[in-house]
Structures are given as structure tokens and as C-alpha cells.
Symmetry: C2
Subunit: 204 residues, 2 copies
């Protein structure tokens, strides 16, 4: 065990009392409740994973969650299997046809993105859903598979109380501008560089 | 719908064929399977949330997950309630006594961190677990509530095949050094700045 002198304990207490006062004042200032537009972007891992973690949070409070996967659609993922255990409280649509370098067909990719966006709008309009996840939609926006203006306008005009999470690298500035919360996942270190392959439970 | 000229479609196809070749070569290079030491750090949101998203992934593949919360312990969270629906496949221990500015008692915080670490070691040694999440342990390391050398050595010597995720701001350089995968969650934009309060389903 670590030794703590009475002086150290007193210093710690004084510092933490001050910090608590600041913290309490900050919490008291925040009074608005609203549905958030959340963006997870950046080159690091965890963009989709954090979105599915939020799904867990909403489900834990009794809410319903909609998921549209814009790009990955070909493979069955662990999070999908786990979320399916919540039954009709999770509605999952994989609309993409795999990554774009798999299909190699621009017209097919554009049509798939369009269908995915129509499904997304449908769920956003359905008051049963508390959270809608638009997984990898940033990729579809980046490649102009979807009209940016129309998408941002629809997200900004979402119904009150609805949380939406958009994931994917290279989020468009207009989307970031419209968002309430933007997290950039930065890649500090990656095991792929050390030759470790994609593994069940971690990458899918 | 977007109009696509034949030239544009051909260019797209050529570009994506090249990209697929690069991608396939990269995947073929990676052959190692190992349990990963993963760190989620940085000032942005999503550090714990992405860890719980990984838990979903592991659960979806039939694995078992252990969670030790080092700092938050006082409040019931949505993700905990949702993960409890997986029954004994999730073992959850909230060992902290709330944030440090709530307790204001150094000796109590150090003792709580120590108990949490002992529970973590126990789960890391139990081959039933495929993933162990050490939530907010970086905070305990940062304030020297735990001996850094001992913790890093134990993480580095974890049993083969075990994935461990450590979350929290200000990850220590020695931990980053030992890790396989480190993501820094950067804060681009936060709704708290606009007076929006912590909400069910998003912050807890």
C-alpha cells in the first residue's frame, strides 16, 4: 500500500473540494435536454464500436434503436448478433454491398447508398426510435454517393428528442457544423502494423 | 439520382480494382492472432462507450466479458443494465466510489483502486473471460492510486488470447508503450458547451 502523510491527505482534500465546487457549478449551468446529432470520425478505431456502445446505453434505459449500415453489409458482425438478443427493440439494416473496392461498380454503390438513406429517413421519422445509428454514412457522403445538402438538412430537421450517430472517416465540414457532439478517433498505435490479423470479437 | 457517365464509371472501376489489390495484399500479410492490450484515451467522448461496444462484439461471438469500473461506481448506467441481460456471460464490478472530487479522501480512493485492481487480476487470470475491461483505470494510474510498474507488468504478462481494454484520459506513456492498439478520442465539438445537460442514454 502507498503511504499517505496527513499533509498530503489535507492537500488532496482542499484540491478536490475546489474541483467539486467548479464541477457542481458547471453541472448546474446545463439545463437543456435535446436529441443530439453525434459524429464519430477520424482514422482511429472505435467509431462504429462507440456508436454500438451508445445503443447499449439507450437499450439499458428501455429505448429502441435503429441501425443502418451504409458500407459494410456483406459480413455478419458480433455486435449485430449481440444486439439481436434485444429482439424488436433493435432494427438493423445492412444496406451497403461491402466496401467500395469490393463492388467496383459506381452506379451500384450509389443506388445502395440511396436505398440506405431512404431506410434511415424512415427510422428517423418513426417516433418509436430513440437512437438511430447511420454507420459509415461519412464514406457515402465523401464519395458523393449521397447529396450532402439534403442529408445535412434532414439531420438538422430531425424530430425533437431523437439522437442520431453518424460514423466514418473524413466527416464533411457541413456535417460537423450541424452536429452537437463530434469525436475524432485518432490512431496512436495499431496492431495491424505488427502483422496481427483482424480477429473475431475485435474487428468484427 | 446522380448521373454517372460511362467514363466516370470506368475510372471508378479502375481505381477500385487497384485499391482492392492493395487491400487484399495487406490482409494476406497479417497472420498473427493474439489477445490485444487496447487503450482508449484522450479528452473526447467514446472511450468507455467503445469498450462496451467491444464487449457486445465478444458477446455476439459467444465469449464472456469482465468489467471493473475503477472510478465511476456510484451510479447505475444504461450499459450496465443492458449488459446484465446477458446474464452470467458478463461479470461487472463497480469498485470506485464515484469521482475523486466527490470523495475528497485520498486514502479511501487509494484503497478502492487497490481493491479494483485485485478484482481485475482475478478476472484476467480466469480463462473463462475473453475480454476484460478496466474502465477508467488510467485515472487511477494518473493519480498514483496504483503502482504503474506492477500494473503494466501484469498487463504485459496476461494469458495468451485475452483481450484487455484500459480506458480513461491521460494514459501513461509506459502503458501506451506496452499496448497493441491505442486510440486517442479527440474532442472536436461538445454539446455541454451549448448548455445541454447530461442525458439518459447518452452520458449514462
Amino acid at each position: 500500500m502507498r503511504d499517505i502523510t496527513p499533509e498530503e491527505a489535507a492537500r488532496h482534500r482542499a484540491k478536490m473540494e475546489k474541483r467539486k465546487a467548479v464541477q457542481d457549478a458547471e453541472v448546474a449551468e446545463k439545463t437543456v435536454e435535446k436529441g443530439l446529432l453525434i459524429v464519430h470520425t477520424g482514422p482511429g478505431k472505435g467509431k462504429s464500436t462507440a456508436a454500438f456502445g451508445l445503443a447499449l446505453r439507450v437499450l439499458g434505459h428501455g429505448g429502441r434503436v435503429g441501425v443502418v449500415q451504409f458500407i459494410k453489409g456483406a459480413w455478419q458482425s458480433g455486435e449485430r448478433a449481440a444486439l439481436e438478443s434485444f429482439g424488436e427493440r433493435v432494427e438493423w439494416h445492412s444496406m451497403g454491398e461491402g466496401f467500395t473496392w469490393e463492388t467496383q461498380d459506381l452506379a451500384r454503390d450509389v443506388a445502395a447508398a440511396r436505398r440506405a438513406w431512404e431506410k434511415a429517413r424512415e427510422m428517423m421519422d418513426n417516433p418509436a426510435f430513440g437512437l438511430v445509428i447511420l454507420d459509415e454514412m461519412n464514406i457515402a457522403l465523401r464519395y458523393d454517393y449521397l447529396p450532402l445538402d439534403e442529408v445535412v438538412a434532414a439531420l438538422a430537421a430531425r424530430r425533437e428528442g431523437l439522437h442520431v450517430v453518424v460514423t466514418g472517416r473524413n466527416a464533411k465540414p457541413a456535417l460537423i457544423e450541424a452536429a452537437d457532439l463530434v469525436t475524432e478517433m485518432g490512431l496512436v498505435k495499431h496492431h495491424f502494423k505488427a502483422g496481427v490479423k483482424a480477429q473475431k470479437g475485435i474487428e468484427f
